[in-house]
């Protein structure tokens, strides 16, 4: 059934067979398999087509490094794209397919690119598809189709995700042998420890090897330690958890996959959890990834990492072939050949690029009668859709050139090893520059910027015994740095057979008899089809920096972030430039280490919980009366209240006319309200506002403009004097939070001597605004002990009293230009007073109006809205509001000095004016640009833009506010608005107050 499955061994459960399908074909695997190990067990070699050339590809690795076996899991809303088959745990009923291959994996038309490969050099897209420009859209469509990545689900994700906020003294990333020792040492010293690992169980590389410690299998040796950790009160063990980002101040983000191994439809818990971990100390024990050697046709299915061959044999009892040819520049890879032979399979030969080695493993291989070619390289893999053989040749002592005749060997599996690359990704996330270590032949973490220690293979330590003691010491040191004294635990005494390891050779690209540019493709980055020739071409074209070369060739741009390809690419570039690898350096590794689901990052903050919504006390009433909503900050405000059959324009016109002709009511509760108290409150407000509040008496209100120190309008609103040393400042709805911070900034940092205190009371009060010529009658009908006679309760007065039986503050201010009372009651009476006003206004046909009508009514009056008619570059004079600036105040108020700068006093600043369109019915779009003449050559000189624009039902024509250069001195001029659709609208500059310019209506 499973032709490549061994009869014994491995960490799989042969008693639990699992069915799965890949590209529609059914297979069997076992509990404990990954999708990759199960496919290899079933002899499946072809799993993908390559990105650019459509070449057949097979499984190369056995973990996060896998570049080729990128698959799509499941269907529908649960489908997950772009997973590495090497990291997908097999479950019964699993369905997977390749993400590449069009129309199918076996017949891939994009592979025709491969035949014209010379036409697709690096920078091909820049060089070719950018011209002619108008074809780009068509090219892009084709490129995306050919790009070979998975499909996003077409419905919403049905799964639940959680976030956890974790704190610990010591976080250990990686549960291999070094990480386990570190966690034990730290926990026993008293530290709270989290140890996490991306695999299904702790053990790291021990899971895939036959190492022995103290005379027993190393995995058995750590088994007791693992269960000790799992039972430890101070230790949290997280498996199936990937630390994907390491951020400032020892903040590590890790995603835990809770149900993925049970199948996509498992619903018993959240699918994944994001652990947001703040650690006092971090220990990186994330291991190393083997580096392949680069040779011609090294992308044929059947070319794998030596460590992958070893892992499939030992962990999953899978021998992915019959006849193995191993090529290496180091000792460690020999173990794969030894294990292969132990599994009863044939080792064709080991090719060692080095002239000789005194290492224990090469000696063991020769003792086992494995044929070893010393000083040999693999020139080219042979085969169609899978490896069938190899061409080999003897090499010069430095491994850089071919010295002998080409020979051919037959094999169906090639394993290669170019040494090991420590997983420095997480340390790099902290800004740490990896350092090239010539002796280790690897980049190791550089000097630490944060509180982390890298141990074991992730620090370039390959020796098992050294990893154990390094991990232990790091755990102790981290605990000590966190204030814990390690006393409990003795350093583990381990007895491991001493071995000799000879140095590896600095060979990355194996020579071919033809120059790199003419040899069959030698792949560096298999996921993005970057070849050695492409990197050399980039160097010839002048790319000197590895960062530029990366972007030009796309080296390391894939979802695997070049875990296998990057170092080889850097070495090949360094060689082409005649520089050392240390001088060439690495590119910057950035989060995420492996692709992370958006769902895990979003957690529960989706849909209704994405952002808080703020409701006023009257919200349900608006809802019941059919309000359409406008979002203002987080507030939901009624936009308009359509009646049956009404369009928006009809509803807004009706609401506007009701206010102008009778009475309307508006929920104004959302306006920011800041209670200001203290003996210096008036002085403070006078320093902050453009006008003076020193003489404002209790019972009076004043409108003010708030400027930034650069003289530009920032917010506006009315401030009322509630009593001695007591004021209430109204702000715009959206500006409330920023205004409070602004007040606090000046009070705390610049004028701490002023005694003044601020309290946000926005939510404390509900505001019902009654506006219109009948407003006074509505209030009389409502019942109040406040004297409403005009002489007693004037415009810009406020009164405290009883309204409809409730204690209320009534402000006679107006944003519509009509007689207006704003009734404020404690918020929990908001709904009551609103309904009482509605009932009392019935005989006057009182009409609830929304923000849209409010905007039309205020625009008819030329009242600005900060943030709509202003944009942070408008002074009071620009808004024709110099009347609101008191330049004679003793204190140089915020922004005053800036009003005298040459830039703010120049004549051609944009100024607020009105616009009347020639055609009364045409409503200009807001944001429309304004030019003086249509005869100007393009680009025309922009004169300004439309800031507010509506149809005014009371006037029967459209109105617009606009800012126009020197507009206030251009009354009567005609300007033009060329619109996006090609039409042009002519309009005349008029004063910005369209209705009741003398302001009589609000003073009745």
């Amino acid at each position: 059934m499973q032709p490549n499955r061994l009869d014994q061994g491995g960490l799989i459960d042969r008693g639990r067979p699992l069915q799965f399908t890949f590209n529609g074909t059914a297979y069997l695997g076992y509990q404990g398999d990954t999708l990759a190990s199960a496919l290899l067990a079933n002899g499946v070699k072809l799993v993908a087509r390559s990105f650019k050339y459509g070449r057949p590809r097979g499984i190369v690795g056995f973990g996060a490094e896998e570049p080729n076996a990128i698959i799509q899991l499941g269907r529908g809303g649960e489908t997950v794209p772009n997973l590495r088959a090497t990291q997908v745990e097999l479950y019964d009923g699993l369905e997977a397919c390749s993400v590449s291959g069009w129309p199918s994996l076996d017949l891939d038309l994009t592979s025709l690119f491969g035949l014209v490969g010379r036409l697709l050099p690096p920078g091909f897209y820049y060089k070719t598809f950018m011209w002619p420009r108008r074809f780009w859209m068509a090219y892009e469509h084709f490129i995306r189709k050919a790009a070979g990545l998975g499909k996003a689900p077409d419905t919403a994700d049905p799964d639940i995700y959680d976030k956890l906020h974790q704190h610990c003294d010591v976080l250990v990333v990686g549960g291999g042998v070094a990480g386990i020792q570190a966690a034990r040492a730290a926990a026993n010293a008293g530290a709270r420890v989290i140890i996490l690992d991306e695999q299904t169980q702790l053990g790291g590389m021990l899971l895939a090897s036959h190492s022995e410690v103290n005379g027993m299998p190393a995995l058995d040796w750590v088994a007791g330690q693992i269960s000790e950790l799992q039972g430890h009160a101070r230790v949290t063990v997280l498996t199936r958890t990937t630390a994907f980002g390491y951020f400032d101040h020892n903040f590590v983000a890790a995603v835990e996959r809770r149900t993925d191994h049970l199948g996509l439809s498992a619903t018993s818990a959240s699918r994944q959890r994001l652990h947001r971990i703040r650690a006092r100390q971090v220990i990186l024990a994330s291991g190393a990834i083997e580096r392949p050697l680069v040779f011609a046709n090294n992308d044929l299915p059947g070319v794998m990492l030596a460590s992958a061959v070893q892992a499939y044999l030992n962990r999953w009892a899978v021998a992915p072939g019959r006849r193995l040819l191993l090529v290496t520049n180091n000792d460690s890879a020999y173990q794969a050949a030894l294990d292969w032979q132990t599994a009863g399979r044939e080792v064709v030969a080991v090719l060692d690029t080095r002239p000789g080695s005194n290492g224990s493993l090469p000696k063991a291989a020769e003792a086992a009668n494995i044929k070893v070619y010393r000083g040999y390289g693999l020139v080219e893999a042979k085969g169609g859709k899978a490896v069938a053989g190899a061409r080999i040749a003897s090499l010069s002592a430095d491994g850089q050139s071919i010295t002998g005749a080409i020979q051919e060997l037959e094999c169906d599996l090639i394993a290669s090893s170019g040494g090991w690359s420590p997983v420095v990704h997480l340390s790099s996330h902290t800004g740490n520059k990896p350092r090239w270590d010539d002796e280790k032949g690897a980049f190791v973490p550089g000097n630490s910027l944060q509180n982390f220690l890298a141990v074991g293979a992730s620090n370039g330590e390959w020796n098992l015994k050294a990893c154990i003691s390094q991990g232990y010491l790091a755990g102790q040191a981290a605990a000590r740095a966190g204030g814990f004294d390690s006393v409990d635990l003795e350093s583990p005494v381990v007895n491991i057979k001493e071995t000799i390891e000879s140095a590896q050779q600095a060979v990355f690209l194996l020579p071919h008899e033809m120059p790199t540019s003419r040899a069959p493709k030698q792949f560096v980055d298999q996921q993005l089809d970057v070849t050695a020739a492409a990197i050399e071409l980039a160097a010839r074209e002048g790319y000197q920096s590895i960062e530029h070369t990366k972007r030009y060739t796309a080296l390391g741009f894939g979802t695997d972030q070049g875990k296998l390809g990057n170092i080889n690419g850097m070495a090949i570039l360094a060689n082409a430039l005649g520089k050392s690898i240390a001088d060439t350096g690495t590119t910057v590794f950035r989060p995420a280490y492996t692709p992370t689901t958006f769902g895990a990052i979003a957690g529960r903050d989706v849909g209704e919980l994405l952002d808080p919504e703020r409701y006023t006390a009257m919200h349900r009433w608006h809802e019941r009366h059919g309000a359409k909503w406008e979002n203002v900050g987080q507030w939901k405000r009624p936009w308009y209240y359509p009646q049956a059959g009404e369009t928006m324009l009809e509803a807004v016109n009706r609401e506007c006319l009701a206010v102008r002709n009778s009475a309307g009511m508006l929920d104004a509760s959302t306006l920011g309200k800041i209670d200001i108290q203290g003996p210096d409150a008036a002085e403070f407000i006078t320093r902050i506002y453009s006008n003076s509040f020193l003489k404002l008496e209790p019972g009076r209100c004043r409108y003010g403009l708030m400027l930034k120190e650069d003289g530009m309008i920032f917010d506006d609103g009315v401030t009322a004097c509630l009593g001695d040393n007591h004021y209430l400042m109204f702000t715009t709805t959206g500006g409330a939070a920023a205004v409070l911070s602004w007040l606090e900034l000046w009070a705390q940092t610049e004028w701490p001597e002023l005694q003044v205190y601020f309290t946000s009371v926005t939510d404390h009060w509900a505001t019902t605004t009654v506006s219109g010529p009948k407003a006074r009658q509505v209030l009389e009908r409502l019942g109040t002990d406040i004297d409403l006679t005009p002489a007693e309760f004037k415009f810009m007065d406020w009164r405290a009293g009883t309204v409809a039986g409730l204690a209320a503050r009534v402000f006679r201010i107006s944003f519509t230009g009509e007689l207006t009372y704003e009734i404020n009651v404690p918020a929990h009476f908001g709904r009551y007073i609103w309904e009482a006003v509605y009932a009392a206004g019935k005989e006057f046909d009182i009409t609830p109006y929304g923000t849209e009508a409010m905007h039309v009514l205020r625009a008819e009056k030329g009242f600005i809205i900060c943030g709509q008619d202003t944009d942070g570059s408008m002074t009071p004079d620009d808004m024709n509001m110099g009347w609101a600036v008191n330049r004679n105040k003793a204190f140089s108020f915020i922004g005053k000095r800036s009003l005298e700068r040459s830039d703010t006093t120049k004549g051609n600043r944009k100024q607020l004016v009105g616009l009347r369109t020639q055609d009364a019915a045409t409503v200009l779009p807001e944001g429309a640009q304004i030019v003086n003449s249509l005869n100007e050559t393009i680009p025309m000189r922009m004169q300004g833009h439309v800031t507010s624009s509506y149809f005014s039902p009371i006037l029967g024509h459209s109105i617009a506010l606009a800012v126009v250069k020197a507009g206030l001195s251009r009354m009567g001029d005609t300007v033009y608005c060329p619109l996006a659709d090609g039409q042009t609208v002519a309009a005349k500059i008029v004063p910005s107050v369209f209705y009741d310019p003398s302001g009589e209506r609000q003073n009745v």
Binding site: D248, H249, F251, E709, E744, Q748, S892, K896, S898, R901
Partner: protein, 101 residues
Amino acid sequence: MLQIYCPYCREMREEEEFSYSGEAHIKRPDNPEALSDEEWGDYLFFRKNPRGLHCEMWQHTVACRRYFNVVRDTVSYEIHETYPIGSQPSKMTDAALGSTD
């Protein structure tokens, strides 16, 4: 994400509780009218952009709402100290401090 010690709350809290508020130790001129446009422009617009230690203001927005000063390394993002408004950092050199205060 940073962890910031609020000198008023006297607790180490997450960055999301705070708001950044620009360079610290910039004193508003006592008599703005006496300054030339250029001098006023310096106060308004020109800020340090150091590679290294930077004094800056933060507000503990969701808690005590107090502004305070922070010495932060703009390379490593390490926070060396936080201290109340009106006081000086203990570890900064004069050169790194504002010239106006």
